[in-house]
Symmetry: C2
Subunit: 254 residues, 2 copies
DNA sequence: GAGTGGTCTAGACCACGCT
DNA sequence: GCGTGGTCTAGACCACTCA
């Protein structure tokens, strides 16, 4: 007999002990919202009703609903109820997922594809060396990738990683993976946190693949990746064609 | 005897029943971090130690720490401890506070001032009417304000609000208040949620006060404000000189 | 007044990292 | 093994909204 015995049966899936209960409930409720089982604008079942349905405590239900509220999927009203956000359609990201580029493109209604454009060795500039806490001229792995929305290039993603971390031959690297997976698989480094800067930029040579017009303006997401020990692991420099893909999300106040 | 009896005495303040306990603990811990009582990179007291110190349950401490973690002030490591983020200095905002412009400017190390530039009536364009669910040509209150960082204009904030909501004479409006306060005080409307779009923009006539150079690029935050009933309340159109004020924040992964 | 979400407690056990 | 944070329970009372 496995540890994976069912706790509650449900139209779509079965709650088991294999993953945290809250995560499984999260998936079920998310599905119900996406499938419009709970229609946009509609009041959802109360916390206590849900805790009875899934056979879990109200606290567990609350942690799930809190996450969905942060993403903007639901709106909570004290003394009234929990409602499905009627404007889900206008949203393509949330505050914790701005850099999930593939997801951002998909939720904007396009088909995603990723094309590695370059995997090569470069020398660190002074500024890059400063940020990565290495020496100027030290070797970096330079990873350049293009994200497409329906065959149209929309995001240029550039990453720089100190070559000293690299644990496999460069040719083995699969450039279509996301950066977290790349750091883990080929560099054996776990990203603990990221700092992100948002700014605008003018299209120039390196971004000409993206911009149709000359002097077009792009959205720039400048990221720095750090380990658990606060060591710099990598730099990310990303350009979005915001005419096609504009990040849009929901914010609520307590 | 008041309801406000002290629960715990502390170097800086006293915990009482006047506000939620978690909010008060939040303020105390936030202060300790800012004052470097808990120094950057240092391990903080454990959850159980804090719950003993403040005489509250561990669950309460956890809700506080969760909020601080979302803002990037602390980093949590299972099996190890809770640490003050060593990179606080590089951060000037967090994911839930991107539109607190005054705070953004202050945390970037400048002195803030706000100057109302225009409070007038305009006619709704077709697009504005669509977003606000009114008729083209309907009257809107147009509010234009400039945010300064050390005497240097850095953010242009434009708001459009249907005049039909207005409950006081236009001249009474204090243009230096934040939009939530303005909506509440003069329009008797409570903002329940906001959708925010992030893009880049080229400086043009309306933004020439901001941009030093011609054709400079700016960061645009395009907002739509909604009531609890999902009715559109206002439009916000904001331009940041991201050469001077670049939003930078921390993101962690579960 | 009835029902909702918001706050809080005092336990329990688990997963993980360190040493 | 021990201490950390992560998950979860079964209660309680409060604040708020709506009929």
């Amino acid at each position: 007999m496995s540890d994976d015995y069912p706790l509650v049966k449900n139209k779509f899936m079965v709650i088991s002990r294999s993953k945290p209960i809250s995560e499984q409930v999260n998936i079920i409720l998310r599905d119900r919202i996406c499938d419009a089982d709970y229609a946009p604008g509609e009041r959802m079942p109360s916390e206590s009703a849900l805790s009875v349905e899934f056979g879990v405590s109200r606290a567990t239900i609350r942690t799930v609903l809190a996450k969905l509220a942060v993403e903007g999927l639901i709106l909570r009203k004290q003394g009234n109820g929990t409602f499905v956000n009627e404007r889900i359609e206008e949203i393509n990201t949330h505050l914790g997922g701005l850099w999930e580029f593939a997801q951002l493109i998909e939720r904007s209604g396009f088909e995603v594809s990723i094309e590695p454009r370059a995997i090569e060795i470069v020398s660190a500039t002074k500024e890059e060396a400063r940020v990565l806490a290495i020496n100027q001229g030290d070797e970096l792995l330079f990873l350049k990738r293009l994200f497409f929305a329906d065959e149209q290039p929309v995001i240029l993603a550039k990453n720089l990683i100190p070559i000293s971390f690299l644990e496999v031959p460069m040719k083995m690297i699969d450039g279509s993976l996301r950066i977290r997976e790349i750091m883990k698989r080929y560099f054996d480094q776990k990203i603990s946190f990221v700092t992100v800067g948002i700014s605008s930029a003018i299209a120039e040579n390196s971004t000409k693949k993206l911009a149709v017009e000359k002097n077009a303006h792009l959205l720039n997401l400048s990221m720095r990746f750090y380990s658990e020990k606060n060591e710099p692991l990598a730099i990310g420099d990303n350009y979005l064609n915001d005419k096609l893909i504009m990040p849009r999300f929901v914010q609520t106040w307590h």
